[in-house]
Subunit: 363 residues, 2 copies
Amino acid sequence: MKILRSIEAADLEDIAIGGAILGTGGGGDPYIGKLMAQQAIKAHGPVKLVDVAELPDDALVVPVCMMGAPTVMTEKLPQGDELINAFRALEQLLGRKIDAVLCGEAGGVNSTTPFVVAAMTGLPLVDGDGMGRAYPELQMVTFTMHGVSATPMVLCDDKGNSLVLDTVSNAWTERLARAATVEMGGSALLAFYSMDGATAKKAVVRGTLSLCAQLGETARKNRNAPQGPVKAITDLLNAEVVFHGRIKDVDRKTVGGFARGTASFEGVEEWKDHTFKLEFQNEFLMAERDGEVLVTTPDMITVLDAETGMPVTADSLRYGLRLVTLAFSGHPEWLTEAGIALVGPRYFGYGVDYTPFVANSAD
Amino acid sequence: MKILRSIEAADLEDIAIGGAILGTGGGGDPYIGKLMAQQAIKAHGPVKLVDVAELPDDALVVPVCMMGAPTVMTEKLPQGDELINAFRALEQLLGRKIDAVLCGEAGGVNSTTPFVVAAMTGLPLVDGDGMGRAYPELQMVTFTMHGVSATPMVLCDDKGNSLVLDTVSNAWTERLARAATVEMGGSALLAFYSMDGATAKKAVVRGTLSLCAQLGETARKNRNAPQGPVKAITDLLNAEVVFHGRIKDVDRKTVGGFARGTASFEGVEEWKDHTFKLEFQNEFLMAERDGEVLVTTPDMITVLDAETGMPVTADSLRYGLRLVTLAFSGHPEWLTEAGIALVGPRYFGYGVDYTPFVANSAD
């Protein structure tokens, strides 16, 4: 298998930051994600990143993921052991050796969890994921649209408990795994959506981990550039700055295993006298400007620190922070009828239809 | 293996009624339990009841059970298929043939669920259970006191979803299985606490199903006797009538997968001018008379219709019903320190120590 790139511990800095940018507010804190994966790579050696096209059609590919409210993940650090336990238990259940590790979603933690497993097992890691971003629920992956079952799925906690789920639909997997995760204290580690190489070639969003690395690198290299990092990131993503302002209020609660809430902003500079609001359920799902819906899922909303360009998760929104919000088009697969049914605004209970967001490149 | 007795469909009438008497308010509705088991026996033939002492030491014995709030079980009839699916899935997981079926708890439904599996598989059914009564939580079995692990456990619902649990303690099994059961709509079918024959001989409460049959028969044969059925049942159980009265209020809610509440009574006849109160969480857990705690778990509180002697579950308590409450001593194994720690009043959040109830035989 041709190796795209060998990933060293130092590379995880950029990947975690880039993951948090694509994480659109969710997917975990990049600092924690980075530490976890760096520790595994230092102990076990670098990770071989491969393109999905390199996989033999009959290869067995398994994504790993952390599940739970990011609010909890930050306080309850995941251990590499729980991830590898879930992965090995699923391997045993499937009765054959897994050939490659896959990323479930992009995010500060969930872009890095597969590196932990790839480092510990020595298996190649596919450069891609099941979302091209982060979404709050398990069934919200391109894998679902390609008929891949989330089960058999293994779910492990930090205490040594494990569950094997076998469900009639990926939506049922989400319901039962969420209930177990809440009971386990709000976070759990998963191995699921096992598929063969032929399916992975169709179902995986390609290049997500390379894009994470590129985004992180862009943020880092432009931190002190004259135009600043925000402009460079905006350009790379073909995004538009839809607001620049200070947080004046955050209403947040952890409910049903999710961090849900609303953040309200007051504008600064060119956005003075304008108002802005973000709705989130782990991820940013909808943005309103001056009382009108501006962006919804499947399009992407990401929030950066106005000075440093560092991504800000929904979990770290605090009164007074000065932030820039970017919006850009979602991965084409999410913009289909099937995609909108899975992750569109009506699924999340917002009373609006999806209207494509088109970034104004003149901005 | 010497067969104690062959159980025909007609015998289930008594067993279900007796099960509900020992069910102390929980364990499911006997009418539903009877129908389920009768249907299975009519389709597959009678069930061979065996004494636990007959089991070879290396026999594999597996209890089956229905889990959930009885309030839900009554409206969502269990299907034989779900039980047999759980049982067969556990058998496959354990990698060897199961030799005998065991009852988890006595109750209107849960005394009869093992008959469904025994009839469908042709396996012998052990005359005993893990409680000698019903209790609301999974870890509350004599099996726990004998070091038997509840897991691996298989939990199935009516939709085709299944879970395999592997937990660090039986208390964790309860938490995770309860969360899944709530998500599955409030009821689920289980196969768990697999053990060998040698362990079963120590851990099983012997003779529970025969006692159910005897209690049901006593109730039936004395329905029109001069002294009435209540007296006959009271005598058979070495119980005491602790109250006779009408329900004046029931405060009930289904919360966390349990039917919880309080029933208040006003006395009739010799109990006129006295008050009485029952606390329940699926089962009757505590009785207060004239404001004083009179009986708590592990001692047994059962409620009979004053006229017919038929057991009344906590779920069927209704304003105006005229009922007799019996109390009697719990199985000796529950009266130990370990037993009281598992099921005593403090576990359920009542601020009293367990004080043994001694039936006044002069009553």
